[in-house]
C-alpha cells in the first residue's frame, strides 16, 4: 500500500479501536463495575494508542526510507562505481531509479542488477511497511484492550496524551524560529566577515551597486541598513494610518451598529481584501494610485516622484484592513452584553460605550490584531517593489521613493549575483537583523499590553 492508503487504513483502524474501547468499557460498566472514566475516554485512549504509533512510524519511515534504500542500493552497484566518487554514485543511483521507473535510457548491463534489486527492494519495503504499520496498530489495539479495566484512569491518560500533543504543536512555532535562525545564521556570518557589522547596522547609505563587481572579493560599498529600516518604518506607518482607523472603525461599525445582515455580508467581503494577490495590489498601486498621488502632490505644488512611499503605504494599508477589522470584530463581539447594558443604563451613547467600555475590554485582542497587521505590513514585498521603487533614500517624506528591508531581501535573493557575493549574503543578514528587531519590538509590545489588560465578568 502507498502512503495515502496506509494512512486511510490506520484512520479506519483508529475509528474501529475507538468503538471497540468504548463498547468494552460499557460492557464492564454494565456488569456492575464503576468506571473511573467515561466509556468514550476508554475509546479515545484506544484510538490514540492505535493511531499515533503507526502514524509516527510512517512519518519516520518517509524520512528514512530514502537514505536507507540508497545505502542498500549502493552495495549492489558495480564495484567500479562503488569505489568511485560520491557524485558518480549519486548519478548511478539516479539512473537506477529512473530505469526502475521504466525510463528508456541506455544503460550498462552491470546496472541491471541494481535495477532489479531496487525493484525487489521497493516491493519488499512496501510490504514490510504495510505489515509493520498495521501490526503496530494492532499491537496498540491489543495492549490497550488488555489494559481496559474499571479502574484504568483513562481520562487522565487521554488528557495527558492530548496535552502532550498540544504542547508539541506549540513547540512547532519555536522550532520554526530555530529553523529560521539556522537558515540565515551561516550566511549572515559570512556576510559580516566581508562587511563590518557596525557599518551595516548604523550606516546611513544603502547602495549595493558600485563596489562589488565581478570577482572582486572585498567590499567598500555601502551596506548601511538604516535607510531600509527607516523606509520600512515609514511605509508601515502609512499603512497602519490607513488600516488601523479604517479597520477598527469598520469592526466597531459592524459589531455595534450594523444590522446583522449587513455584518454577515460586509465582514467576509472585507476579508477578501486580504486574499487578493499582492501582484494585483502592486499594479493597482503603481498604475492607479501612484499617478494619483503624484498629480495631487503636483497640484499642491509639491515635488512628488512617481514612485512614492505614500502610494505603496496606502495600498498596503488597504490590504491589511481585514487583519484589523475582522479580528477586532471577533473580540469586540465577544465582550459580554452585560457590560454594554451597564453602560447604556447609565445613559451612555453607543460611541461612548464603545470607546470607554467595549474597546478597553477588548484591548488585548485588538492589540493582537494590530500587531498582526503591522507584521504583515513589514513582511510585504510586492507592493513596495512595484510602487515605491527600490531606491534606499533615508527620508521621512512620504512623497519620496523609499524601499524596505523585505523588498531588498527579495531583490537580493532573486538577483543575478553569484552565491557568495555580499549582495546575496546581505539578504540573510537583513533577514536576521529584521528578525531580531521585531523580536525586541514584540517584547516591548507584550510588556505594554500586559499592563493594560482588563479582565471582565
Amino acid at each position: 500500500m502507498n502512503y495515502s492508503s496506509l494512512i486511510i487504513a490506520v484512520l479506519i483502524l483508529l475509528a474501529g479501536a475507538y468503538l471497540l474501547g468504548r463498547n468494552r468499557a460499557r460492557q464492564i460498566s454494565a456488569s456492575g463495575n464503576r468506571l473511573h472514566s467515561l466509556p468514550t475516554h476508554y475509546g479515545a485512549l484506544m484510538a490514540l494508542w492505535t493511531g499515533l504509533p503507526p502514524l509516527l512510524l510512517l512519518l519516520l519511515w518517509s524520512l528514512l526510507e530514502g537514505p536507507v534504500t540508497r545505502q542498500l542500493l549502493i552495495a549492489q552497484l558495480p564495484d567500479a562505481i562503488q569505489t568511485g566518487t560520491s557524485t558518480q554514485i549519486s548519478l548511478a543511483l539516479s539512473k537506477v531509479y529512473n530505469l526502475a521507473a521504466g525510463a528508456e535510457l541506455a544503460a550498462a548491463p552491470e546496472l541491471q542488477r541494481a535495477v532489479q534489486h531496487l525493484q525487489d527492494l521497493q516491493q519488499r519495503t512496501r510490504l514490510l511497511q504495510t505489515g509493520m504499520v498495521l501490526a503496530l496498530a494492532l499491537i496498540g489495539v491489543a495492549l490497550t484492550w488488555r489494559r481496559i479495566r474499571a479502574d484504568l484512569r483513562a481520562r487522565s491518560e487521554v488528557e495527558a496524551l492530548v496535552r502532550r500533543l498540544l504542547f508539541a504543536s506549540s513547540g512547532i512555532a519555536v522550532l520554526t524560529t530555530f529553523g529560521i535562525l539556522a537558515s540565515v545564521l551561516y550566511e549572515s556570518w559570512q556576510f559580516f566577515g566581508k562587511v563590518n557589522i557596525f557599518e551595516f547596522m548604523f550606516g546611513t547609505s544603502w547602495s549595493p551597486q558600485i563596489s562589488l563587481r565581478a570577482d572582486q572579493s572585498g567590499s567598500s560599498g555601502s551596506f548601511g541598513a538604516v535607510p531600509l529600516f527607516a523606509g520600512t518604518l515609514l511605509i508601515s506607518l502609512i499603512a497602519m494610518l490607513i488600516a488601523v482607523p479604517v479597520g477598527l472603525m469598520s469592526a466597531i461599525y459592524l459589531s455595534e451598529y450594523a444590522a446583522p445582515s449587513v455584518r454577515q455580508f460586509a465582514k467576509p467581503a472585507l476579508e477578501i481584501l486580504a486574499g487578493i494577490p499582492t501582484v494585483v495590489y502592486g499594479f493597482f498601486a503603481a498604475l492607479t494610485v501612484a499617478p494619483l498621488v503624484r498629480d495631487m502632490g503636483a497640484g499642491l505644488g509639491l515635488d512628488v516622484s512617481s514612485e512614492s512611499a505614500l502610494a505603496a503605504g496606502l495600498v498596503m494599508g488597504i490590504m491589511i484592513i481585514p487583519f484589523v477589522s475582522s479580528l477586532s470584530d471577533d473580540v469586540i463581539n465577544a465582550v459580554p452584553q452585560s457590560l454594554r447594558d451597564g453602560s447604556y443604563g447609565l445613559g451612555a451613547t453607543r460611541s461612548e460605550t464603545v470607546k470607554k467600555v467595549v474597546l478597553p475590554a477588548a484591548l488585548p485582542g485588538i492589540v493582537g490584531a494590530i500587531m498582526l497587521a503591522v507584521s504583515r505590513a513589514i513582511g510585504e514585498t510586492m507592493i513596495v517593489a512595484m510602487a515605491a521603487g527600490l531606491a534606499a533614500n533615508l527620508t521621512a517624506n512620504p512623497f519620496d521613493s523609499v524601499t524596505t528591508v523585505t523588498v531588498q531581501i527579495v531583490t537580493l535573493l532573486v538577483g543575478d549575483q553569484e552565491f557568495d557575493s555580499p549582495k546575496t549574503l546581505a539578504a540573510f543578514a537583513l533577514g536576521l537583523m529584521l528578525f531580531l528587531t521585531t523580536l525586541v519590538l514584540n517584547f516591548v509590545a507584550l510588556k505594554v499590553v500586559k499592563k493594560y489588560r482588563e479582565q471582565y465578568d
Binding site: R340, G345, L346, E454
Partner: protein, 267 residues
Amino acid sequence: MNIIDNHKTRGAAFCDNPKLKARNVGVFYGEKQAIFDVSLDIGANEVIALIGPSGCGKSTFLRCLNRMNDTIDICNVTGEILLDGDNIYDPKVDVVPLRARVGMVFQKPNPFPKSIYDNIAYGPRIHGLATSRVELDEIVEKSLQRAGLWNEVKDRLHAPGTGLSGGQQQRLCIARTIAVDPEVILMDEPCSALDPIATAKIEELIDELRENYTIAIVTHSMQQAARVSQRTAYFHLGQLIEVNPTDQVFTTPDHELTEAYITGRFG
C-alpha cells in the same frame, strides 16, 4: 390559580401625578410574549414595588421603562410609555438622555472591568456632571457613601471593580447609578446579595431618594416591599394582576392570585 384571558388589572393602576405612564404595554421575545397589555402609572416621588413569581416579567417590564430592551435583538415592545407626558418609544426620542433620566440597577451586578473609582466616575464623566477633578472625587465619594460601600473600598478605589464580593459589586452598581443623579431609578432586586445591614442602608437610601425622585423597585422580599414602597404592583405570567397601596396589597389584596402569592409566602 389560572390566569384569566383578557384580564383587567385590579386596583389603582393610575395615579394623579404620574411621572411615568405605561399604556397597553406588550413585550415579545421573538414569538414568545412575556408581557401582556400592562397599563400602569408610576407617580412622582413615589416608590413602587414590583413583585411576582420568578419569570413573571418584572425585569422585562422594568427594562421597558428606559428602553433597555432595545439592546436585545429579538425583543419587541408594543404600546406606549410616557415619561412626563412624552412617549419614550417615539422614534424621534433619543434614548441617551432618556436613560440618563431613567437610571437602572441591573439584576446581575455588572461592574465595568475598570477601577472602582472609574466605575462610579463613568456616568458623571460622560454627562459632564463634574467640572473638576475635585468635584468628581466628591461625587464618587458621596455615591459610594450613600450606597454604604465607602468604608469597605475607600482605600482601594483604584482596585478593579470586578475583584469585589457579590454584595459589594451590587452596591457598586447602585452607587454608579445614583452618581448620574437620574430622575427615575429602576432597581432590579438591588438588595438580593446584601446582608441585612447593607440592605437597611439601601432602604434608607431609597427613602431619602424618594423626596426628589421616582423609584421602581423589583423585590422578592415582601418585607422590603412593605418597608420602602407606597404602592405595590403584582405581576403574574406577564400580566399585571393588581396595583394597590402597599399596605392594602399585603393586608387585603384585591385579587385571589395576589392573595395566594402573599399568603403562600406567609402561610
